[in-house]
């Protein structure tokens, strides 16, 4: 097995003549927190959609654990050990926090979830997973609250938390701090670096300063292609990155 958990080869996503993702070779090393950053329109989210299966890449390969998964539908990628969170909070609003997490744990059962005769109480392991994750997210006190009634910051935390319930090897997080208040952001970055100890994390982020401290590897995208890849220090000191990214921000 190679050192890389996830690898793309010449990945393309075209909308007619426009290439949102234009020949990306991304390599995510096992056990790292790897961040993809880039200014608006750089193709981060399009790349993310190809990886999650939300969009079908138009050319290239996506290797996960050495297996080409480019034709796998999103739900099929969960069973392989991939999990994702959403940029726009996407929860089961009218179900309890605990039930949200239990459902996420149950999702890895695949067709086993079609069992219609046993009570959900019967499968203790899913409840145990939910309780363990509740604790890790520090949401124990809100277990029976409806997800829709949590504060926005807590909803973002639950959003990320749901993705670890199926014990994935790869966590793909789409702008987890999106819409969070400045005071809540350290909460999220702490959570992500905590999760990074157990999972390989692929993080998509718009805000560069947030990810510098927690990432081991950073890929900078621009115009659908990889501009620079390296350690946070290398990226910070790269002239090209300053021009397209920091320059734009300044």
């Amino acid at each position: 097995m190679s050192d890389y958990l996830l690898e793309t080869r010449n990945l393309q996503l075209a909308y007619g003549p426009f290439h949102a993702v234009n020949g990306v070779d991304l390599k995510v090393r096992t056990g790292t927190i790897h961040t993809v950053i880039g200014p608006n329109g750089a193709g981060k989210t399009s790349l993310f959609h190809c990886l999650t299966g939300e969009r079908q890449a138009t050319a290239g390969k996506i290797l996960f654990n050495g297996q080409d998964i480019i034709r796998k539908p999103s739900h099929g990628r969960v069973a392989l050990g991939m999990a994702r969170s959403f940029q726009l909070t996407s929860l089961f609003q009218n179900l309890s926090v605990r039930e949200n997490l239990r459902l996420a744990a149950q999702g890895r059962d695949g067709l086993g979830a079609l069992n219609f005769w046993r009570s959900v109480e019967h499968k203790r392991s899913h409840w145990d997973t939910a309780d363990r994750v509740l604790e890790r997210l520090k949401l124990n006190g809100r277990a029976e609250t409806l997800a829709g009634e949590l504060s926005h910051g807590q909803q973002r935390v639950l959003e990320v938390g749901m993705s670890i319930c199926a014990s994935p090897t790869l966590l793909m997080l789409d702008e987890p701090t999106s819409g969070m208040g400045i005071d809540d952001i350290p909460l999220m970055t702490d959570l992500i670096s905590d999760l990074g100890r157990d999972h390989t994390v692929l993080l998509i982020e718009h805000n560069m300063s947030i990810v510098m401290s927690i990432s081991q590897r950073i890929t900078v995208m621009s115009h659908g292609q990889i501009l620079v890849e390296g350690t946070p220090d290398q990226v910070r000191n790269d002239e090209r990155v300053r021009t397209v990214y920091l320059g734009e921000a300044a």
């Binding site: 539908p73 996407s90 219609f116």
Partner: protein, 335 residues
């Protein structure tokens, strides 16, 4: 707060709900003028319950329920008339026929979401109606299928229960209702049922955490089709007649109205909805031939003022009474 979580409600009040149902099933024929009317309520209660599995628990608005209702009626009637099948065989046949048609309709309709799904079920509904109308050699067309038998329950030629007596038939239908209700309650609390609610809440997320949505939707569609088929079969046996209107779009509409008026959050609500609409029809149609206009008014009132339907309204009422009682107890204590 957790009351809004249907799973918590189902968990906590499962036995109480069954008890309430048993009391209602026993009480219904006692307070109503005829056992036939009570039977009709249960039959439509079954159809509404099946519709509720789709609408209330999976978030699928189907205008195709009349297809399965009509198919169950024709299917069971034809099996009994031509092949001389008994009561249970005819019901199983109707359930299978309903499930099979639901598989066909569902497999195509669930490829689209939202309004397009609704339109597809509507289209299938129209097709089924005209198919039944055209195949008049089998269905009797406009005249309906006449002389539908209501076989007794027999073992080796020995009559166990004589169902020609309307009260006996009511008891039989009530028993079926209880069994199907308990089964549906169980399904809702299973991994399958909990996933249906996840799909209702957020389809994208449900797919993202690993569920193949199509499997769940097709299976719940088939389950709904099977139960609706049984309801259709029982209705044909009740009337000794399977009218073309069974498979009409109006039937789909009626079943939907009963489901919504009763409340989409609860299976018991479906029985309330069916009871309310069937009884209103019975009472109002004698007073005023244009009573359907009032049905529209009632539907509007429920949708605007009682979002949880009759069941939600009752639950609110009980809740509103309870805290005041708790408050009374407190004030008494302080006194």
């Amino acid at each position: 707060m957790t009351d809004k979580n249907p799973l918590a409600v189902a968990k906590g009040h499962g036995h109480a709900l069954l008890l309430l149902l048993i009391v209602s099933l026993i009480g219904l024929p006692l307070i109503l003028p005829s056992a036939t009317l009570a039977t009709e309520i249960l039959i439509f209660g079954l159809a509404a319950l099946a519709c509720n599995l789709l609408l209330g628990y999976t978030g699928l608005l189907s205008f195709g329920q009349g297809i399965f209702f009509g198919a169950g009626a024709y299917g069971a009637a034809l099996l009994m008339i031509h092949l001389h099948w008994g009561m249970l065989g005819a019901l199983v046949g109707a359930a299978l026929f309903g499930a099979l048609l639901a598989l066909l309709v569902g497999a195509l309709a669930i490829r689209r979401k939202g309004i397009y799904f609704v339109m597809l079920t509507l289209a299938f509904s129209q097709m089924a109606y005209f198919l039944a109308y055209t195949l008049s050699g089998w269905t009797g067309g406009d005249n309906g299928l006449l002389d539908v038998p209501r076989p007794n329950i027999e073992i080796a030629g020995h009559v166990l229960v004589d169902l020609a007596d309307p009260r006996h038939f009511y008891a039989f239908v009530a028993l079926l209702f209880l069994l199907i209700f308990a089964g549906a309650l169980r399904v809702i609390r299973s991994p399958f049922g909990s996933t249906l609610m996840a799909i209702r809440e957020n389809e994208t997320r449900a797919a993202a955490i690993g569920y193949d949505i199509r499997h769940f939707k097709i299976l719940v569609f088939m389950l709904s089709g099977a139960i609706t088929g049984i309801a259709g079969a029982l209705y044909a046996m009740l009337l000794h007649f399977a009218p073309l209107s069974n498979i009409d779009l109006m039937m789909s509409e009626n079943i939907l109205i009963m489901t919504i008026v009763g409340g989409t959050g609860s299976l018991f609500g479906s029985l309330l909805g069916a009871g309310a609409i069937v009884m209103l029809g019975d009472v109002l149609s004698e007073l005023w031939p244009r009573w359907l206009m009032l049905l529209g008014v009632i539907l509007i009132l429920v949708v605007v003022f009682m979002r949880g339907g009759l069941w939600g309204g009752l639950a609110d009422l009980v809740k509103r009474l309870q805290p005041s009682r708790a408050l009374d107890a407190k004030t008494k204590e302080t006194l």
